[in-house]
Symmetry: C2
Subunit: 150 residues, 2 copies
DNA sequence: GACAAAGCAGACAAAATAGTCTTAATACTT
DNA sequence: AAGTATTAAGACTATTTTGTCTGCTTTGTC
């Protein structure tokens, strides 16, 4: 698995917030958790991580909750991934040799580096706004299908 | 991390075997483990997995050990990966929604699917022979650098 | 001010992964 | 036959990741 569950949950929650489009309103973690079918307490901790990295802001009390800290156009999926999985998610490599580098690469280096770069680029170029837009435009889904059986 | 440590160890061990080029001789797990700096007992279990999947053969007793079950040209890195991490390593996806498919994809589907396919292709097209060849030809390294400091 | 609705914090539990150890089984050597 | 070198099997431990719970703090409403 490329990304941890924490990270996947963070992405889903962030996209949910981007789609919510509340004008200055906060959305309760409870609601996000239940709609995305994620454990409430777990998601709380994940969103706290995002808050510490200044990707979301939060507010307590009634009508409190969380919201994106910046416009969704200015948050990339890479931002979320880095916030949760650390700065060097894509640093680690196939053969996992310690002290590896381009000078003395292991045999997989070339092919893997190319693929890795491609994935990195995708995440870097995909803002929450882009994702949200695609979601709406193409009628994609974010939550689990409930009524429809497939 | 894309691949588990078990998987990485398996790949390194398999490549080591491919590079060994012993004519029908077996190489002891002890030797592989110490050269690749992997826990002996752990590697033993991993190689047992590969043996059950008929990727390596083993022999007990003095002068025993393990060897590739087929010519290195006929074992891909994907074979190793699948043997260790299961058949559907690359099935799981970014947003990790249950029951996802091309009919009702999540917003990341398109970009991710492309990258995933690329990685899969790399692994499928990379036989142990190819890796071994590159290793020799380009003076790449498999074990950890010891004498040289970088 | 009392109460309720939220997030915050940290201890705790469960599950998955990684790694260790001990005992057996097997095969070669002498 | 005895002894040794090797893998096989499985119990055991450790670490990381994932998830749960309980109590506290902040904020709005009445
Ligand atoms: S040499 Fe390249 S492919 Fe190998 S572990 Fe290092 S970065 Fe990864
Ligand atoms: S819809 Fe596509 S990208 Fe999303 S979880 Fe499913 S396969 Fe992965």
């Amino acid at each position: 698995m490329l990304l941890s569950k924490r990270c996947i949950y963070a992405l889903r929650a962030a996209l949910y917030l981007a789609l919510a489009k509340t004008d200055g309103e906060y959305i309760s973690i409870q609601k996000i958790a239940s709609e995305l079918n994620i454990s409430f307490h777990f998601l709380t901790k994940i969103l706290q991580d995002l808050q510490r990295k200044n990707l979301v802001i939060s507010f307590r009390g009634p009508r409190g909750g969380v919201a994106l800290a910046r416009p969704d156009t200015e948050i990339t999926s890479m931002d979320i991934i880095r916030a949760i999985n650390g700065e060097d998610v894509f640093a680690q490599c196939i053969m996992g040799l310690p002290g590896c580098g381009t000078e003395t690469p292991c045999p997989m280096h070339e092919d893997w580096a190319r693929s890795r770069k491609a994935i990195e680029t995708v995440f870097n170029n995909t803002s929450l706004a882009t994702l949200a837009e695609q979601t709406v435009k193409k009628h994609l889904r974010l939550t689990e299908p409930k009524a429809r059986t497939e």
